[in-house]
Symmetry: C2
Subunit: 355 residues, 2 copies
Amino acid sequence: MADAAALDSVRDQVGRALAEFLARQRDVLPGAATELLPGLDALSGLLAGGKRLRPAFCYWGWRGTGARDCPQVMTAAAALELLHASALVHDDLMDSSDTRRGQPSLHRRFAAHHAERGWRGSAESFGTGAAILLGDLLLSWTDEMFHASGLAPEALARGQRVLDLMRSEVMAGQYLDLLAQATGDGSVASAMRVVEYKTAKYTIERPLQLGAALAGPAAGGIARAYTGYGLPLGVAFQLRDDILGMFGDPAETGKPASDDLREGKRTVLLAITRARAAPAQAAVIDRTLGDHELNEAGVAEVRDIITSTGALAECELMIDRHLGQALGALEQAPMTAEAREALAELAVAATARHD
Amino acid sequence: MADAAALDSVRDQVGRALAEFLARQRDVLPGAATELLPGLDALSGLLAGGKRLRPAFCYWGWRGTGARDCPQVMTAAAALELLHASALVHDDLMDSSDTRRGQPSLHRRFAAHHAERGWRGSAESFGTGAAILLGDLLLSWTDEMFHASGLAPEALARGQRVLDLMRSEVMAGQYLDLLAQATGDGSVASAMRVVEYKTAKYTIERPLQLGAALAGPAAGGIARAYTGYGLPLGVAFQLRDDILGMFGDPAETGKPASDDLREGKRTVLLAITRARAAPAQAAVIDRTLGDHELNEAGVAEVRDIITSTGALAECELMIDRHLGQALGALEQAPMTAEAREALAELAVAATARHD
């Protein structure tokens, strides 16, 4: 049964595979290990958190084809957490974010390490350099863990092509996001396109298809079903994240509420709000978006506009509609009953209100 | 014959393989291609330069085992240029370097792109973000190109283990370098350790061993010979680079002379100078190292100290000694005569004076 216990079990096994991989890395570099330990400890901390969404979708993508449970696929799936951790480390740097998963972000942690020791030069530059390098290391380790998973070379070769596409897509999505912020393109269409690349394909569609590719040569039906489920679910998932980013409990999200607003993120939620806003309301949004010094009163004002324009309600409706589409795609999909049930549960869990 | 024409031919074939790979990437992301074009053009420009040292060592590492010439190994070897380009993009960002290969560095180019268009927010932050993402893309593409080379899955699996080690080592070396700058550890031993990781293993030893691993299951003799040749040659090569960095012709190096000094790089050349310097001379070095505003008179003063302390002559002697060691290791090595000849030529070319 793909009940909550099965989902927890995937998460635990992914966590163990990551911990084992990191422990092995400590022995790889004997000539430099001591100095590198602060970095490895910081990475262990970062990797201990996380909902393991991408590995879970990869695992159920494999199971959906009828392939059996095995530790090898769990290790290959867990490699996606290294890719994601790399993206988070570099994202936090690009966004100048102070926190991640309730802890100081990696670049801030290394800047503090430098400052505490009274080292030479700029603590901030040291933090930046260390975060760039550790993000690069995590990205390299994605391939290392994937290829050392113990799956057959032909399976890995099939999976590699999906992994390649997934990485190019997420990096393209991040660049489009950067570009939308720079050009000030606040349209709903632009925000939705970023969501397609940065979330829907990267978090759900491609991990599912990666699991299927690892299991066997492409069967068109299941890859299409994973697209039919993955893309709308990705949109619903991101919209829930947008709402949590403005209205969520920081203790739960691990980030200060409204960080998205302060960092100038052009979310779909804000794009819809902007499109529905009266001129005076639109001016408030334009003024506050990207204002790192924005105080709580300013945030409250934006929250009011999101609610009073009906943008919040529209987003909730969009979540329901996209979730319905995703669940609908599962119904006729040529996959095992167990995977269908697990994916339905994952869909609901990933998009549920947190109140 | 492994004459100059053969070395040129490797360089040309690597260049063509890279151009073909980049052309294919333009078609991968149909939904985002137009906006991504400035990035892809910048990468094409960056990848068009370069001496192709790492692919050349990988190729001759393969040929040294007696394996035949083939386009597949050339493509796998060319993937190392993507890895190196990624390291350069991120290095320039960490060092705040303005130029690379005679062109503006990637982060500067994107900052200028932003400024010219009068976009929102900080042009510098945009440049930083784009350079982080494009460096990440190049790092991901290393694996993509390597695995799409057409070599057999078992060959790629053997090669992957060397590639994994090579990447972890170079990133560790860069972190050690960052750390040495921060802690102000100016010892020759510390600088030599950075050279071992950042240059000797990364540029020569591991590419050779990667070529051998792609050709067949490990034969201990040849892997050891590649270490015996690669590590001393790497030291000689880096020392030549240190000297060029202080005394070279910017038109040839593609970087302003003395950029190393302004960026505070703790090179072996400067560590030896510092160890030989009188107190007043040592004070000059400590003051100028890392001074981004240093003028030509200040640079000339440091050049005089490097020469008058005898550090320059000592470095030239070290280059000769290490080059001799590398060439000596070739003599008894169990490899083809053709590869032996090519590696001897590469060693001499990589360490020659440029006057």
